[in-house]
Structures are given as structure tokens and as C-alpha cells.
Symmetry: C2
């Protein structure tokens, strides 16, 4: 009966490590209990249910990611800042694939609103200060950057870029060049479409 000293925070941290080892989708309350050498039911004093666990891991990952992003952005502007932020996501995903997947976990709206997730959009927006974009375009650009960062990282992790010739490192650097060029001369809306 000696108490192990479980807390939601320790569970979330251990859950994050577990996610990195076995993949976020295979994180299980049972396995977590096993790692603490404790019976499964005991975790239910700390967690509402297994979704609660996943949510906490997601929040942890979002927080870690936001911290790193803030560090990376400090003192940088323009393309330098763009590259730094992009690398934060990519490096994090490679070092912590389970946590990165967790950060993508669909949170309910209130939880999401209170999460570090909102900081990410703000930091992406901060990058755009170095470029000359005014309001509606700024939001479009934030969304595009988010799409590229997330899309690239996801496809790369999934092995999508590992087969063919130019290595992913080079594509990544060229993608940064492309985004920088694009933001510098952001095109006006085409008349045919909008």
C-alpha cells in the first residue's frame, strides 16, 4: 500500500514519454499503470478517463512547443525568424514524434481556447511583422504557414519524402526560401476567383 506518489502531472509526463516510444495512438491507461507499477484502477483517482490522459499529454506538448518557439523567436526577425520557427516544429516532431502527434489531438473548444495552442498562431503572426502584410492577408499567410509547417512535418515523418532523390533536408531549405519569397511579394487576389 506504500503510495507511489502519482499526480496528474507525473502521469502526463510519463504519458508523453510513452507516446514517444510507442506512438500517441497506442498510449494506454493500462500501460501507464504498468510503468508506475500500480493497478490500472488507481489511475482513475487522477484521470477522468483515457481521453483525459490524452488531453493532458496534448496540452503538455503544446506548451513545450510554445516554449521552444518563443525561445527560437527571441531576437530574430524576417527570414531568420521564419526559419527558426519552422525548425522548432520540425525538430520537435523528429525528437518527440509521439508528443507531436499529441499536439494534433482534437481538443474540445474550451480546452483548446485555454491551451498554449493560441500562442502558436500569435507567434506565427509575429513573424509576419518582418514582412509587409496588412490584415486580411496576414491571417491568410498565418494559415498558409501553419499548413506548410504541419503538412511538411507530417509527410516527412510518415516517410513520404524518404524514397526519391533530393534529400528532405534540401527540400526543407528550399521551402524556407520559397516561403520567404512568397511573403516578400504576397500576391493580390486573382480577379477571376475572388
Amino acid at each position: 500500500m506504500a503510495r507511489v506518489g502519482l499526480t496528474v502531472d507525473r502521469l502526463a509526463r510519463a504519458g508523453a514519454e510513452l507516446a514517444d516510444e510507442v506512438g500517441f495512438e497506442h498510449v494506454t491507461v493500462s500501460e501507464l499503470a504498468r510503468r508506475f507499477d500500480v493497478k490500472v484502477a488507481s489511475l482513475y483517482s487522477h484521470l477522468k478517463n483515457s481521453r483525459d490522459l490524452k488531453t493532458r499529454i496534448a496540452l503538455l506538448a503544446l506548451e513545450e512547443l510554445a516554449d521552444r518557439a518563443a525561445d527560437a523567436l527571441a531576437g530574430r526577425a524576417g527570414k531568420d525568424a521564419l526559419i527558426a520557427l519552422a525548425n522548432v516544429y520540425r525538430d520537435y516532431a523528429r525528437a518527440h514524434p509521439g508528443r507531436y502527434a499529441a499536439a494534433q489531438f482534437r481538443l474540445d473548444p474550451e480546452t483548446a481556447a485555454a491551451s498554449a495552442g493560441v500562442k502558436h498562431a500569435q507567434m506565427t503572426r509575429a513573424i509576419l511583422r518582418g514582412y509587409n502584410l496588412t490584415e486580411p492577408d496576414q491571417t491568410h499567410a498565418v494559415r498558409l504557414l501553419g499548413s506548410v509547417f504541419h503538412g511538411y512535418v507530417t509527410l516527412e515523418m510518415g516517410g513520404g519524402f524518404s524514397h526519391s532523390a533530393p534529400d528532405s533536408e534540401e527540400t526543407w531549405s528550399r521551402t524556407m526560401d520559397a516561403l520567404d519569397a512568397l511573403l516578400r511579394s504576397w500576391p493580390a487576389p486573382s480577379t477571376t476567383t475572388g
Copy 2:
């Protein structure tokens, strides 16, 4: 004992429908059996295991998506083709979220190589014929387009763009403008980085 007439194809199709209803991650062999009014064990005459089921749903989705992409691309070139292909992914994801998620399912290398997945890269490459890109750059561009399509669709489906002001429809159209502009004047590699 009357035979229901199960086949792997029917199971995969029903699995795809189930995925659209409950989400790909909640597709379960048990639920599928229930829908055919058959005992769970019976499905194991047709499926190796639950991963097998998910693989078949993924292959089905990749195929459907490739067919639609091929149709959309027929007779189009340049920006027109770019928009058509991008819309195929987005529309498919919205109409069939479970199938779209299935298409992202990580297949083992041999299965992936034999899947319709390879056609997708080819079709994206086909779009670039309308732009003037030569070999290493063409691959970089294919990867960038893939990243944007997938990233945008994923974030949009996850509700990431539903809160703030300019609606997602507008951002989408501006994203198409941006990609077209980018492909038209694809930047040379920056000297500092590569």
C-alpha cells in the same frame, strides 16, 4: 447459418462508410461485424486482423482519391489544374473525413509502393508541367504542394481556421493564388543556406 456473402471488398467498403461516420480511429472489427449482423469471429475468415482491415480501407481511399484527381486533371493545365487538384483533396476530406484519415494511415513500404499513393505524386508532378521547373526543383515543388494540400486540409478539418475573421474559403482561394505565383517565379536557392 444462411451465408451473408461477406467478401474483403464489401468489408472494406463498409469499413470506409463506418470510418466516415465514427472516425477512422474508431473503426472496429466488432462494429463492422455488427453491421453485417454476423459474429465477430466470422470476419477473421476474410481479414487477417484489425490492421488488415484498416489497410484495406486506406487502399480504398487512396484509390478513390486518385481516380478523382485523375478526372479533375483531365484537360486542365497551369493554375486551373492546380486548383482542380487541390480541390479534390479538400472536397474529399470534407465529404469523407474518415476515408481521408484512412488515406493517411501508415502502410508498410511494400504495400505503399503497390498502392495508388504513388499516382498522387505523379499527378502533382503533372501539374508542374504547366510551370517551368527543372528537375531538382520539381521535386521540391511536389513536396511543397503536397505539404500545403495536406496541411491545410488537416488543419481546416480540425477546426483550426473556423474561429477568426476571414473565412476559410477566402484563405483557400488566396492560397491557390500564392502557390501559383510561387511556381511561376520559383526562387533560386539562397546563397547563405545552400
